[in-house]
């Protein structure tokens, strides 16, 4: 039942929740359950900024089964305004419009659907920032 794991991860995945260190301010996404990797300090959950810029990206042509109907799709390596770095799918943009350095904002979208159960899994994607 892999779908249980999607349910367990739903809150941080929907709301872009990461971890922030009370000691040195380092942030992590996905959130860490243990201690800060840099200083060993205590971590707390925090909603991360929803804007950032694109550091690098790829267009995926050979996808795992759950994403096979989405190809080709774009996955970005993104730095949020507070410096947190993460990987997320880009949406509302075509491959030839994507530029390293472009401003992005988070949006909640459908990720994939389980065929047998029809269970739809949602999560954060990023689109070109408006305004």
């Amino acid at each position: 039942m892999p779908e249980i794991t999607e349910w367990r991860d739903r809150i941080w995945r929907y709301r872009l929740i990461g971890s922030r260190c009370g000691g040195c301010g380092s942030t992590y996404y996905p959130p860490r359950n243990s201690r800060c990797l840099k200083c060993g300090g205590d971590l707390e959950e925090v909603e991360l900024p929803r804007r950032g810029k694109l550091l690098s990206y790829t267009v995926v042509y050979q996808a795992p089964t759950l994403y096979k109907y989405s190809t080709p799709y774009i996955v970005g390596y993104i730095e949020l305004l507070d410096g947190t770095r993460l990987f997320a799918m880009l949406t509302d943009v075509e491959p030839d419009e994507v530029r390293v350095g472009m401003e992005l904002e988070a949006t909640l979208r459908k990720l994939y659907t389980y065929g047998e159960s029809g269970h739809i899994v949602y999560g954060v994607k990023f689109r070109p920032a408006v305004g």
């Binding site: 794991t5 991860d9 995945r13 992590y28 996404y29 996905p30 860490r32 990797l37 550091l55 690098s56 990206y57 790829t58 267009v59 995926v60 042509y61 050979q62 996808a63 795992p64 089964t65 759950l66 994403y67 096979k68 989405s70 080709p72 799709y73 996955v75 390596y77 770095r85 993460l86 990987f87 997320a88 799918m89 491959p95 390293v100 990720l111 999560g123």
Partner: protein, 381 residues
């Protein structure tokens, strides 16, 4: 570190073995290694396999391989650690010998990817790397490598052609390897214009997965000399880990674990990097091979691709890289790949009897856990 040697190697050509199951494939390679070592009594068996359990092929694999080989007793340990599986099997065998608990150990790995659909194999590999990061972003292993490649090109102003020149070198060298999945040279044009897997990487930037098995018989140098066996000596090893998930790293292009493992291995072996004759990279992608070159200290940051492009690591140069074809041409039987690299190093020493040194680099994921062995040729003759 001193005194541990390999006295036998065995491997099958990487490819698709429809008529063989995973246990008999492992036994074929292991039997060849045992024959070369003159059929010693083995005290412990360590079998690496990344996916045999995850894909439902055979759980608890090592006891089945031990039984197939007719081992009546002795330790049988299964190690599943992605691309580092067989490297950790070798390392565990060495430690067993160093502890004095064994006189002979059989170590290696086996992978069977053709028993499952490619999409199922891909998913098992992605879960090995990091379920949360990859599954919720749609990223694949090749996609992650592609993001690194574009970052590298942006950061250092390096062309894609220079990165891909490592794949061309692999194919050129793989022609000489009878166990390689692909024994033909390819042109840079062909590699660049091939179908995209994850832009900007084409199928020629991605090491092909294949079925494979490779094993080594290890013992002490003292025992090898006593029995009159030719050997390859393990002069040093190092192992280190990088941060996971990969989004928590401050620099995607810095393979810190590989750097640490190499530094420890060379210092244990008391050998400088300049005295190496060859280096085997765990180049599961062209870009990861380039980043490994830089981490190991063979190239400066941002100059690995330039160095490969300029021919600095070709076969006729002082330090040659991927002399038997690397992961691209030999093929990548994931949990067995590290054992292949060591078997190939042994083959090299057989052909070049003079004393020389090689460095073998392995890792799981993207530098998640790195192992480096420094090896040297030798023999009783």
């Amino acid at each position: 570190m001193e005194g541990i040697v390999a006295v036998g190697y065995g491997l099958v050509r990487v490819g698709e073995y429809w008529a063989k199951d995973i246990v008999s494939l492992a036994a074929d390679a292991a039997s060849m290694a045992l024959d070369m070592a003159k059929q010693p009594s083995v005290d412990a068996l360590y079998v690496g396999s990344a996916l045999s359990g995850a894909l439902g092929i055979q759980g608890n694999l090592a006891i089945h391989v031990a039984d197939e080989l007719g081992f009546a007793d002795g330790l049988a340990v299964n190690i599943s650690a992605g691309g580092a599986s067989s490297g950790l099997a070798v390392l565990s065998g060495i430690d067993r010998l160093l502890s004095g608990s064994a006189e002979y150990v059989l170590v290696g790995g086996v992978e069977k990817v053709s028993d499952n659909l490619p999409s199922d194999v891909l998913e098992a590999i992605l879960i090995d790397i990091d379920r949360r990061v990859l599954k919720y972003s749609g990223l694949t292993d090749a996609g992650l490598a592609a993001i690194m490649a574009r970052l590298y090109m942006e950061e250092y102003g390096v062309s894609k052609e220079k990165i891909t020149s490592l794949s061309v070198l692999d194919h050129e060298n793989g022609v000489n390897n009878p166990y390689a999945m692909f024994r033909r040279a390819v042109s840079l044009d062909m590699a660049m214009s091939a179908p995209l897997v994850a832009d900007p990487l084409t199928i020629f930037d991605v090491a092909p997965y294949g079925d494979g098995a490779a094993f080594l018989v290890l013992t002490t140098k003292e025992k090898a000399l006593e029995e009159g066996l030719d050997y390859m000596e393990f002069l040093g090893y190092g192992v280190a880990r990088n941060r996971v998930p990969i989004s928590h790293r401050s620099n995607l292009l810095s393979f810190d674990a590989s750097a640490e493992a190499a530094s420890v291995a060379l210092s244990r072996a008391n050998i400088s990097i300049d005295s190496l004759r060859f280096v085997e990279l765990f180049d599961n992608f062209s870009i990861t091979g380039v980043l490994a070159l830089e981490a190991l200290g063979l190239s400066g940051s941002g100059s690995g691709a330039d160095d490969v492009w300029s021919g600095k690591f070709n076969l006729d140069r002082q330090v040659s890289v991927d002399i038997m074809g690397g992961l691209k041409a030999r093929g990548h039987p994931i949990g067995a790949t590290g054992a292949y690299q060591l078997c190939e190093a042994f083959m090299r020493f057989e052909e070049a009897p003079r004393r020389e040194y090689g460095l073998v680099h392995m890792m799981s994921g993207f530098d998640d856990q790195a192992i480096v062995f420094v090896v040297g040729g030798g023999g009783s003759a």
